[in-house]
């Protein structure tokens, strides 16, 4: 095989990989596990409360926040989805989340803690807390999407009277991400095949590249929308029936909320630390 053929195969693989990853999320969501079997509404509510609880921790309350890690880790275990899959899928977003609070150590230099004679400033603690908060929120969101078909999440949102227009927008955005990724992949491949050895897209081509991407995506989106209209779509989605709310969902909800409350109002790390050091 010629080197050019290898280049083509590599580029095609890249595209297939990107599209495959999108499809993989749908596949993860329909697996069989106790977490998958739960009511979508219960999972959605739990996730929202979890995120709100995580966000409510003080920026210096790192020790209080750490036990919140237990909930997603336990849920990942129960769902049969590995935490590494979560981090792999979120590899592009995670660095951005981690970058939040990066400048805190520069602005907040007050020493708040001594570890082995080394002073730890408030900025460092708040930076780590912010990073952890971001990671925990992402993990919880991923867990929800990876264990619940997206249609069911939308159906649950409608059930709690989330505006229909916003839910439809959310669902269509999810569907159209694939269309845009596909167009982007095709264009990137076409570019690289005519610009061998070049890394990325040259800055001089950014304008036309983005413009073309937008136009092509819009064309395809328009055709998709026409196809929906021709099959009777009128701004209202008929979501698949959501699994009913059963007693085990209530138990899951109550236990989760109880755990969040305990972690929020009692510093478990401190309590465990006191027992250990006593």
């Amino acid at each position: 095989m010629t080197p050019l053929f290898y280049v083509i195969i590599r580029l095609m693989n890249k595209m297939e990989k990107a599209l495959g990853e999108l499809g993989h999320m749908d596949e993860l969501a329909v697996q069989d596990s106790p977490v998958h079997a739960m009511n979508a509404g219960a999972k959605l509510l739990c996730t929202v409360i979890y995120i709100l609880t995580v966000m409510s921790f003080d920026k210096y309350d790192l020790s209080g926040l750490i036990p919140m890690l237990l909930w997603p880790v336990l849920m990942f275990q129960m769902s049969g989805i590995s935490v590494s899959t979560c981090f792999y899928k979120l590899r592009i977003v995670l660095p951005l989340v981690m970058a939040v609070g990066l400048f805190n150590p520069i602005f907040d230099r007050e020493i708040m803690l001594q570890i082995g004679g080394v002073g730890i400033s408030g900025g460092v603690i708040s930076m780590i807390t912010l990073m952890l908060k971001g990671v925990l929120c992402l993990m919880a969101s991923f867990l929800l999407v990876a264990t619940t078909p997206f249609d069911n999440i939308c159906a649950a949102l409608r059930r709690v009277h989330f505006p229909a227009m916003l839910v439809t927008l959310l669902l269509l955005t999810y569907r159209y991400v694939g269309v845009m990724t596909e167009e982007l992949a095709v264009m990137t491949d076409a570019y690289h095949l005519r610009a061998p050895g070049q890394k990325g897209i040259h800055v001089s081509a950014w304008g036309s590249f983005l413009g073309q991407l937008l136009l092509r995506s819009m064309d395809r989106a328009q055709e998709l929308y026409s196809s929906m209209l021709l099959r009777g779509y009128h701004q209202h989605f008929h979501y698949a029936p959501v699994k009913p709310f059963r007693s085990r969902d209530a138990v899951y909800l109550i236990l989760s909320l109880l755990f969040f409350t305990v972690v929020k109002f009692w510093n478990l790390s401190e309590i465990i630390g006191m027992f250990v050091t006593r």
Binding site: F150, R175, E223, S226, L229, A240
Partner: protein, 240 residues
């Protein structure tokens, strides 16, 4: 019945694509729309489906195609797009097939029954729970036809149904089309397929009808076809 009465259409600030077309397609007919690129084949489809509005009158079962009647008209017409990727937007084949009937207020139980009937009829039960992004091009085309049939349309419109298919899948699609009992309107450059599936052919050029008649008469007329940038179907061409 689909009737065009002196229909014209032009895209914004462009030359007319359809010029005063008049023709009538009776129930149960299989009509092939053929012509060179830009002849106006796809635009005719869009006009019937109300995706674009032109001048003149288009009737579907005596109902005029206009904004007020679009819902009723689209329920009667099933459209298979050229690019199945643009037609299948739900995660699985089953969900995609359920989409149309549910939008037309068919109960979930009845829709499920219809979907299963169509899958059985086309021998596609094995695709039912497959993910759209994981099936082959041929399977996707068949699934796209199935999504349309699940709506039980009176007429099926197809835009290049055999494009980009390998010979085996092309034959599967052709056999499926032949078995459909509905009125069929098919646009294609695949004249062998048109010959196999259509009784009547309308040859278009520059937005006008050049010939309208029995498929065999038009498709075997080398002079007529060549004058309109087309060639005899391969099965009718003399081979060395």
């Amino acid at each position: 019945m689909i009737e065009f009465d002196n229909v014209s259409f032009a895209y914004e600030s462009g030359a007319p694509v359809i010029k005063g077309l008049s023709f009538r397609i009776e129930d149960g007919e299989s009509v092939g729309l053929i012509g060179a690129n830009g002849a106006g084949k796809s635009t005719i489809m869009k006009l019937v489906l109300g995706l674009v509005q032109g001048e003149g009158r288009i009737l579907v079962d005596d109902t005029e195609v206009n904004k007020e009647n679009l819902g009723r008209i689209r329920k009667k017409l099933g459209f298979v797009l050229q690019n199945s990727d643009n037609q299948m937007f739900m995660p699985t084949v089953y969900e995609d097939m359920m989409f149309g009937p549910l939008n037309y207020m068919v109960s979930r139980e009845d829709a499920d029954k219809k979907v299963n009937e169509v899958l059985d009829r086309l021998g596609l039960q094995y695709l039912k729970n497959k993910y759209n992004h994981k099936i082959s091009g041929g399977e996707k085309r068949m699934a796209a036809i199935a999504t349309v049939l699940a709506m039980e349309p009176d007429a099926v419109l197809m835009d290049e149904p055999t494009s980009a298919l390998d010979p085996y899948n092309r034959r599967v699609v052709i056999n499926t089309i032949k078995e459909l009992g509905q009125t069929k309107i098919i646009t294609s450059h695949d004249l062998d397929m048109i010959m196999d599936t259509c009784d009547r052919v309308i040859l278009l050029s520059g937005g006008e009808i050049v010939a309208d008649g029995p498929a065999m008469d038009i498709l075997s007329d080398r002079e007529l076809l060549e004058a309109n940038h087309m060639e005899l179907p391969l099965s009718l061409s003399a081979r060395p």
